[in-house]
C-alpha cells in the first residue's frame, strides 16, 4: 500500500495536472460489439494496456453488449447518467446509427472522451478475381445490376462506402448484409459475392491463406509497411483507391470512447488523460500495428468538429438513399 501511495504521489508530482477526481471502485468498459468484434478488441486492448502498466489501481471489467448492432450497449450506458464508472466503447455508430435506425439513443446522450484510432477500409476481391481496380470496375460494369457487394450489417459503414463507390464509379451493386465482416470474408472466399470492403483485421487471415486480396485502400496515403502479410506483399504494397482509379480519397472508421451525461469536468479530464497514457504504452502500439489501424487522438473541440463533419457526410448519403428515420 505504501508503494502505491508513493506511486500516486510521484505520478501527481511528475504529471503536471493533479486530478481532482480518482476512481474509487471497479470500472466497467461496455463494448458495443460481441466477443471478437473490432470494438471488443479495441476495449480489451485498452484494458490490457491499463492493467499491464498499472495505470489504474481499480479493476476493469469488459462487458459485451453488442445486441442490435451495438444499440444495446449505447442504450445501457445512456441510462447511467451521472455515473463515471461506465464507459462505452464504440465507433462512428454513436452518431450514425440514430440517423438511420429507430434506436433509443443519440450522440448527444453521451459525453465524448476521445477517438483513439481510425480503422482503415480496403476493397477486397477473390484471389482469382480482377487483378486491379481498373479491371474490377470494368468487370462490375459488365455485370450490370447483378454485381454483389458483401458487408457487415445494413446501413452501417460498409453499406455507406458501397453506395459511395456506386456513385463515384457509376455502378450498381446488390449489397448483401451479413452479421459480421468475418462472415462477408468467408462468403467472398466461396465466390458468393464479388467483393467487400472489410477492415484489415477482418480479412488478414484470409489474405494470408490466399483466398482473397485487397486491391486498394480508402486512404489518402498508403498504409504503414509492417511485416509482409503474404510471401510477396504487405499492406504498403496496396495502392490507394485514388491512385488506382477510384476517386474516394478517404474513408475511415473512428473507434471512440464515451462517458454518460452529467459527469463532472474533473471526471472527463481524468479519463482523457488516462486514454492519452494508454496510447503511450507498448501494448497499445502493438494492438494498433497488428490490426493495421491508424492512431489518432481526437478530444474536446477537435473531436466535436470531426463528429459534425462526419455526420454531414453520412447524412448526405443517407438522404440520397432514403435511409433517414422520420
Amino acid at each position: 500500500m505504501r508503494t502505491l501511495t508513493f506511486a500516486v504521489v510521484a505520478a501527481s508530482l511528475v504529471a503536471a495536472p493533479a486530478f481532482a477526481w480518482q476512481p474509487t471502485k471497479a470500472i466497467e468498459f461496455v463494448a458495443t460489439a460481441g466477443p471478437g468484434g473490432g470494438t471488443d478488441n479495441f476495449a480489451r486492448a485498452v484494458q490490457a494496456a491499463i492493467v499491464k502498466n498499472k495505470l489504474l489501481d481499480q479493476p476493469i471489467v469488459v462487458v459485451n453488449k453488442g445486441g442490435g448492432s451495438g444499440a444495446e450497449g449505447y442504450t445501457y450506458v445512456k441510462g447511467m447518467a451521472g455515473d463515471p464508472y461506465h464507459l462505452v466503447f464504440g465507433t462512428s455508430n454513436t452518431w450514425q446509427q440514430p440517423m438511420v435506425s429507430k434506436v433509443a439513443f443519440k450522440a448527444s446522450d453521451f459525453t465524448p472522451i476521445a477517438a483513439m484510432v481510425q480503422d482503415e477500409f480496403l476493397l477486397w476481391v477473390k484471389q482469382d478475381g480482377p487483378k486491379d481496380v481498373k479491371e474490377y470496375l470494368a468487370a462490375m460494369k459488365a455485370k450490370g445490376s447483378s454485381a454483389k457487394m458483401g458487408g457487415a450489417q445494413s446501413k452501417d459503414t460498409d453499406e455507406l462506402l458501397t453506395r459511395m463507390i456506386e456513385k463515384t464509379a457509376g455502378l450498381k451493386f446488390i449489397y448483401v448484409p451479413f452479421k459480421s465482416g468475418a462472415e462477408a470474408a468467408v462468403q467472398l472466399a466461396g465466390g458468393h459475392v464479388d467483393s467487400h470492403v472489410n477492415n484489415p483485421s477482418e480479412s488478414i487471415g484470409q489474405w494470408k491463406g490466399n483466398t482473397q486480396r485487397p486491391i486498394c485502400v480508402f486512404n489518402a496515403k498508403r498504409l504503414a509497411a509492417g511485416p509482409k502479410v503474404t510471401a510477396a506483399e504487405g499492406w504498403s504494397d496496396i495502392p490507394t483507391c485514388q491512385e488506382a482509379g477510384l476517386a474516394i480519397p478517404l474513408f475511415q472508421q473512428p473507434r471512440t470512447v464515451w462517458l454518460p451525461l452529467k459527469v463532472t469536468p474533473e471526471q472527463v479530464a481524468f479519463y482523457v488523460d488516462l486514454m492519452k497514457k494508454v496510447q503511450a504504452t507498448a501494448e497499445w502500439k502493438d494492438y494498433v500495428e497488428k490490426s493495421s489501424q491508424s492512431q489518432v487522438f481526437l478530444t474536446g473541440q477537435e473531436f466535436t468538429d470531426y463528429m459534425t463533419q462526419d455526420s454531414g457526410r453520412v447524412h448526405k448519403v443517407a438522404e440520397e438513399q432514403g435511409w433517414l428515420v422520420k
Partner: protein
C-alpha cells in the same frame, strides 16, 4: 498419413504435466459453469480470457477448450435433472432425459447422455484428424441459399414428426418466429417488434427464453400437481453407471447415425443446436420404439447428445480454418486467438502447426478427462433427485433468476424469463408442443437472414434454391421429410377405405 504424423507431434506437445493439469482444472471449472444455467460456457470462457493473456497460445487454448468440454457435459446435467437446458444445444436432451430421470432412473439417464456424448465427440475429433485439410473447403460452398436450405432441413426433419395436431405445431412455430424477429434486423437495419421497450433492441436471448419455458414452466406445473410426491427415490449405484455404459453398444446404429448427422452439421456450419434437433427428429422417425419417445426412451437421449457433441467438436474446424465461430463459446475463443496474435484462417494450419495439432491432440485427451470426471460425478448429481420437492423448487427458481440476470446483467431478462415461464405453463396445460417454438426462437432469425440474403442475391427469384446440385439436394431432402409422413398417412387411409 501426413495428418497422423502431425497428430503424434501434437500429442508430444499436449502431453505434459502442465497441460494435463490445465485440462483437469479446465474441465472441472467447465462442469461447474455448465451446471449453473445462464453462467454457461461462453461466460465462463470470457471470464477466464484475461488469465490466458500471459500464457503460451497452446496452453491457453487447451485451458479454454477444456472448459468448453466440461461445460458441454455439465449443460446436460440440468437438462436431465431439472428440465433446464444450459445451452441451446441441450434442449433436445430434455425431451427424453427429463422423463427418464423423473421416473426414477436419473443415474441411467445421466450415464447414457455422457456415454453417447463422449462417443460423438470422439467421432468428431477423428474426423477432424483425418480430413482436416479437405473439410476446410466444404464450408466455402455454403452461400446464403445453402445456409437457408440447411435450416429448412432442420425444421422439416423435426416438425414433420411431432405427435401434436398440425395446427398447434404451426401456432407454436409462428410464435417462435415472432419472438426471434424481435430486435435489430440484420438485413434492413431496422428495429422490429420492441413494443416501446428500448432495451429489447438486443433481441430475446435464447437462454432467457428456454429457462422460462422449461425451468419455470415445469416448476409451475409441478407446484400445481404434485407438491408432495416429487422426491424420486433412486439408489445411488456405481454399477448402474457401468451397466449403462456397457449397454450403449446395443444402440450402435443410433450412435453412428447421430454422429454422422452431428459431424455434417458441425462442418457445414449448421451448428450443434440444429444438429441435436435434427438427430432427435430423425431418430423418432425411424425408431421401432418411436411411440415411446418423450417418455424416457434411451434412444431419445443418445440421438441428440451424440449429435450435439459431434457437431460441437467438428465445429472447431470451420473456426480455425475459416474464422467462422460455430457457437457463442467458439466466438469467445476466437477473440482469444486474435489477442494471442494468431489469425484464424486458411493459413493457420500451415503457419502454426504446433498450435493447431496441439489443440487437436488435446481434444482427444480433454474429452477423455471430461468423460471420466463427469461419470465420477453422476452419483452426486443423481442424489439431488432424492431431495424433496419443497427443497428443490426454490433452488430451481433461484438458479433460473440468477441465470437469466447473469446473461447480460439485466432485470428485463428476469422479467422476460418469468413471462416465458407462464407461456411454458400455458403450452403444457393446453397441450401445445414447445419444441417447434424453441427451434424457431433459436434458428428462426438465422433462417430469415439467410432467406432474405438469398432473395437479394437472386433479385427475388426462387430459382436460387435449385441453382446447383448441393442446394437443390438439401431443399429436396427437406421437402421429402416434410411431406412424406402426411402423404403416407393419407395414402394408407385411402388404401384402408378401398379394402
Amino acid at each position: 498419413m501426413e495428418n497422423f504424423d502431425l497428430l503424434l507431434h501434437g500429442f508430444s506437445i499436449a502431453i505434459s504435466v502442465d497441460h494435463v493439469a490445465l485440462m483437469i482444472g479446465g474441465v472441472l471449472l467447465g462442469i461447474l459453469v455448465g451446471v449453473l444455467p445462464g453462467l454457461g460456457a461462453p461466460n465462463g470462457v470470457s471470464l477466464l480470457l484475461p488469465i490466458t493473456f500471459g500464457m503460451q497460445p497452446v496452453s491457453a487454448i487447451i485451458l479454454l477448450s477444456s472448459i468448453y468440454w466440461g461445460a458441454l457435459f455439465g449443460g446436460s446435467v440440468t437438462s436431465i435433472l431439472f428440465n433446464i437446458p444450459g445451452e441451446p444445444s441441450s434442449v433436445a436432451t430434455t425431451f427424453d432425459g427429463y422423463p427418464m430421470a423423473r421416473s426414477g432412473r436419473p443415474t441411467q439417464a445421466l450415464a447414457t447422455a455422457f456415454g453417447s456424448a463422449a462417443f460423438g465427440a470422439l467421432v468428431g475429433v477423428v474426423l477432424i484428424t483425418c480430413l482436416a485439410s479437405w473439410i476446410a473447403g466444404v464450408a466455402l460452398k455454403f452461400g446464403p441459399a445453402e445456409y437457408f436450405a440447411v435450416y429448412f432441413l432442420a425444421f422439416s426433419s423435426f416438425i414433420g414428426v411431432g405427435g401434436a395436431p398440425p395446427i398447434k405445431t404451426v401456432v407454436s412455430l409462428t410464435l417462435g418466429f415472432a419472438i426471434a424477429a424481435i430486435g435489430m434486423d440484420t438485413v434492413s437495419g431496422q428495429v422490429r417488434l420492441t413494443m416501446g421497450v428500448d432495451e429489447l433492441v438486443k433481441g430475446v436471448n435464447f437462454v432467457v427464453a428456454v429457462m422460462g419455458l422449461f425451468g419455470i414452466g415445469e416448476l409451475l406445473i409441478a407446484v400445481e400437481e404434485e407438491m408432495h410426491a416429487r422426491a424420486v427415490s433412486s439408489r445411488i449405484d456405481w454399477r448402474e453407471v457401468f451397466r449403462t455404459i456397457a449397454s450403449l453398444p446395443r444402440y450402435g446404429w443410433v450412435l453412428l447415425r447421430s454422429a454422422a448427422v452431428g459431424c455434417w452439421m458441425g462442418i457445414t456450419p449448421g451448428g450443434p443446436t440444429a444438429a441435436s434437433f435434427m438427430s432427435y427428429g430423425i431418430a423418432k422417425r425411424v425408431s421401432r420404439r418411436r411411440d415411446k419417445f418423450g417418455t424416457g426412451e434411451p434412444e431419445g437421449i443418445i440421438a441428440p447428445e451424440t449429435a450435439d457433441h459431434a457437431a460441437g467438436t467438428s465445429a472447431l474446424l470451420p473456426m480455425l480454418s475459416l474464422g467462422i465461430p460455430g457457437s457463442a463459446t467458439a466466438a469467445v475463443m476466437m477473440g482469444g486467438l486474435m489477442i494471442w496474435g494468431l489469425n484464424p484462417g486458411p493459413a493457420l494450419f500451415i503457419e502454426q502447426p504446433d498450435f493447431v495439432w496441439g489443440l487437436i491432440a488435446s481434444m482427444y485427451l480433454g474429452n477423455i478427462v471430461a468423460v471420466v470426471l463427469v461419470l465420477l460425478t453422476v452419483p452426486i448429481f443423481a442424489a439431488l433427485m432424492r431431495l424433496p420437492f419443497f427443497f428443490i423448487a426454490p433452488l430451481i427458481f433461484i438458479v433460473c433468476v440468477v441465470g437469466a440476470y447473469s446473461v447480460s446483467n439485466s432485470y428485463l431478462d428476469v422479467l422476460l424469463m418469468m413471462g416465458f415461464g407462464v407461456l411454458g405453463y400455458l403450452f403444457k396445460k393446453l397441450d401445445y408442443p414447445l419444441a417447434p417454438l424453441v427451434l424457431a426462437v433459436v434458428i428462426g432469425d438465422k433462417a430469415e437472414d439467410a432467406f432474405r440474403q438469398s432473395m437479394l442475391m437472386s433479385q427475388g427469384s426462387l430459382r436460387i434454391f435449385v441453382d446447383n446440385a448441393l442446394v437443390s439436394t438439401l431443399v429436396g431432402l427437406g421437402f421429402a421429410l416434410l411431406l412424406v409422413p402426411p402423404l403416407a398417412r393419407t395414402f394408407g387411409r385411402l388404401r384402408k377405405r378401398a379394402a
